[in-house]
Symmetry: C2
Subunit: 466 residues, 2 copies
């Protein structure tokens, strides 16, 4: 993977569909992108920022004291760059609390407790509860079993993530319905609780992986917890050997009243189009386990570093370049929704939205959510970025936080280009939503390359978008 | 990074330069490659093979008892596949021994010992030696200082690896002259020993990274050791603060008589061209620290898995597909040289040689060492492999072990295509030649994708090369 900067002719289609030749600036574009990468790799601050966020503040679920600290830290860190404007945007968020009891065991063997993590949003058990385990592979299995097979039972969703897709997010997408909708589906038929196999490709992991779940109006709320894949395998074997398994479950999770929190926003004012915004963001909240390093401390420090690098290189943007540290992506997306709503109210014209929420691994490219002309426009940058290992520029989902900017009720600019950073996904679900998502699981250079990838994309869009 | 299998028309230039249309087979090619990846990701044996090699056998320097065990294990494991032929190729190898004393400290502060690893091939100190430290940045610095500045001193090469190149191998290549030639250069001017900053991009690593060094005939052999980057920084600071630093060094490394070892070879006989060989390999030996997981346990299990997958899919190759587990890449390359010499003697026609010796990380593509028509031929497979994250198909260095097949004295086939697997390189030098290169540093999926990448390339070359 030689680091050769190619001198070439850049031909691209602008957002208005015309083809432009920009020979005379191509060399300086490639040289400027090289400077962006040098800044990230030699003078980068993303890694030490991530260390502080992960180790000093720690995990930071919406509503927690750590989330409050993260907001203060985010604001201070952006102010130090300094920027043209740094401010907080008040956001009301849910305040779910895991509680201090989270325990499950096979009742006949009370010393065989196993590794669970209550799913975010779940109710508690109101003291120890007991029930027979019914293992299923899908929501459809529950529908088939019906009340006869489900009533009074604890449903155990045990369909593993498929190892075949190259993108692990595809595997996740094909599995996460069990976690999200498992409780509501099982409760419909009278289940008393659900256990869900952890969403990870590690086949024998001792850590349970938490995540959000939802209830449905009119259906009883029953407790829901993730089981480590190691213990899911054990439960499966136990059921095979013994035919039945009575489970004791004790969880005292609960949801408090909503509290106020904030999105943290910082921006460099555009010189040509100050009223038009290129927004970059990740989410500041995390689950209440581990340190929220890959999910999504990485996206936070990626985003902040874009502004630091542009300033360090004395780049004066045409558009307003804004970073948003979104609050509450994990369990409500109130930050993303609130930001988009406010943008609509203010009639703010967002021309580009970029999200980083797939970890701090070696960047491979971007997903593009845009009309076809804009998609081709973004893809025209591939030649400039290919030498940096960025080869993936394909239509796809861009991100949760920036999603609401694209909804019919919020959309100001029909030509909005939404992009999602695509890092290498192989290790993401090893750590995702578990105790192992810590600072030490992030490689400095891989993180820094992500910063440079986004900054380069911002630079090219800022320079060439009309 | 969606996992979409494209149905397309494959147009490629054969090795004879003609353009062939293979529409009718294109769909089955893409389907077969998908099966290769499924085999690697679902039924893969590379990870458990690597676990055995790393954890049960451990590191395995040429001449060591563990190297003997590795040869036995390699042969047995290949025999189990089973193959048409498995055999050992005797190779005489050097037998360097680190010894049980490896210690350095600032003499004025004897409690401040620091982390060193004697360089492979180094002589010992014959008991504790003392000398003043002279810090330099390069071999050229030593030449400039000359006898006046160097004589009787311990030379401390402290030029760090450059963080700017995207490929860390480029950084390594720009730095490793200090390790390899540092002792001989310093000895020319009367230095009594050398210390060399470890070859890693970790700026504050407590582990020293060993590696090979060489002496020059007629120049006195002086001891040489790598210093951890953490302690190299400390020594630099100490010199800045105190002007001088007297160092005590005690190393009892030594070189025994050469011993006999083996390359381990296994093959599936070609159905059309049994006398023509596609060879795939990595190296079975490792340095005597850590477990030799990325370097090069990964290459060993990658290579073995190619044959397992082809057999599992009942693929009957046109060419003979041969795997070589090369001995002694690290300190002599006697396995690579011996294999090529023997191939020449037997007039064996090697049409393709593929090496994996850059770690078990997510594969990104291949370096190609071939004539231009053959290079274009290999690049024509890019479209089929792009959906698997394989995007890099560029001319470049292919590997140490297969290198001798390409030398004028050994080359049988002037059209030989040499390829090197290119995994993501960002983390490689975190582990390389240090205590941290262990099984646990390898991700299962990343390893498995490497197996599938090589197997797919072998399949396409076997099918289309004429």
């Amino acid at each position: 993977m030689k680091n050769i900067i190619l001198i070439f002719t850049l031909t691209f289609i602008t957002s208005f569909g015309s083809v432009a030749q920009v020979d005379e600036t191509a060399i300086s574009d490639s040289a400027f992108i090289r400077q962006i990468f040098d800044q990230a790799l030699v003078n980068g601050e993303s890694y030490k920022n991530l260390e502080y966020l992960c180790k000093v503040i720690g995990n930071r679920l919406s509503g927690s004291q750590e989330a409050v600290q993260a907001v203060t830290w985010g604001k201070k860190t952006l102010e130090k760059l300094p920027l043209d404007r740094v401010y907080l945007q008040p956001i009301e968020v849910p305040y779910w609390v895991r509680g201090d009891v989270e325990w499950a065991a096979i009742s006949e063997e009370m010393d065989v407790d196993f590794s669970i993590k209550t799913l975010g949003g779940s109710v508690g058990t109101d003291g120890p509860m007991q029930g027979d385990l019914v293992e299923v592979q899908s929501l459809e299995d529950v529908e088939k079993l019906g009340e006869e097979g489900i009533k009074g039972k604890i449903v155990f969703y045990n369909r593993p993530m498929d190892p075949k897709p190259i993108s692990t997010f595809e595997s996740y997408g094909g599995c996460v319905d069990q976690r999200y909708a498992g409780a509501a589906t099982a409760a419909k038929y009278g289940a008393i609780a659900v256990l869900v196999r952890s969403m990870t490709l590690l086949e024998n992991d001792r850590h349970a992986h938490t995540g959000s779940m939802g209830y449905k109006e009119g259906i009883r709320k029953i407790p829901a917890a993730a089981v480590s894949t190691q213990d899911a395998n054990m439960l499966h074997q136990y059921l095979e050997s013994n035919g039945t398994a009575k489970i004791t479950l004790n969880i005292n999770a609960h949801t408090n009243e909503n509290v106020m929190s904030n999105n943290v926003i910082g921006e460099i004012r555009g010189s040509l189009y100050p009223e038009k915004v290129i927004v970059i963001g990740g989410h500041l909240d995390s689950w209440d386990v581990g340190q929220g390093a890959h999910d999504d401390g990485a996206g936070i420090v990626h985003s902040m570093e874009v502004l630091r690098i542009l300033k360090a290189l004395n780049y004066r943007p045409n558009y307003t370049i804004r970073v948003v540290l979104f609050m509450n992506e994990e369990n409500g997306n109130m930050g993303g929704k609130g930001y988009a709503k406010k943008a609509k109210q203010m009639n703010e014209n967002h021309v580009v939205a970029i999200e980083s929420d797939r970890g701090g691994f070696s960047p491979r490219g971007f997903t593009i959510k845009a009309d076809s002309a804009e998609t081709v426009f973004v893809q025209s940058f591939k030649t400039l970025l290919d030498g940096y290992g960025l080869h993936y520029f394909e239509p796809g989902y861009a991100g949760v936080d920036i999603g609401p900017l694209n909804t019919p009720e919020n959309k100001v600019n029909p030509k909005l280009i939404s992009l999602g950073l695509v890092p290498d996904s192989q290790r993401y679900f090893d750590y995702h939503h578990s105790e192992t998502d810590v600072f030490d699981a992030v490689n400095k250079r891989e993180l820094e390359l992500g910063c440079a990838a986004i900054t380069s994309m911002v630079f090219l869009l800022d320079k060439y978008l009309r």
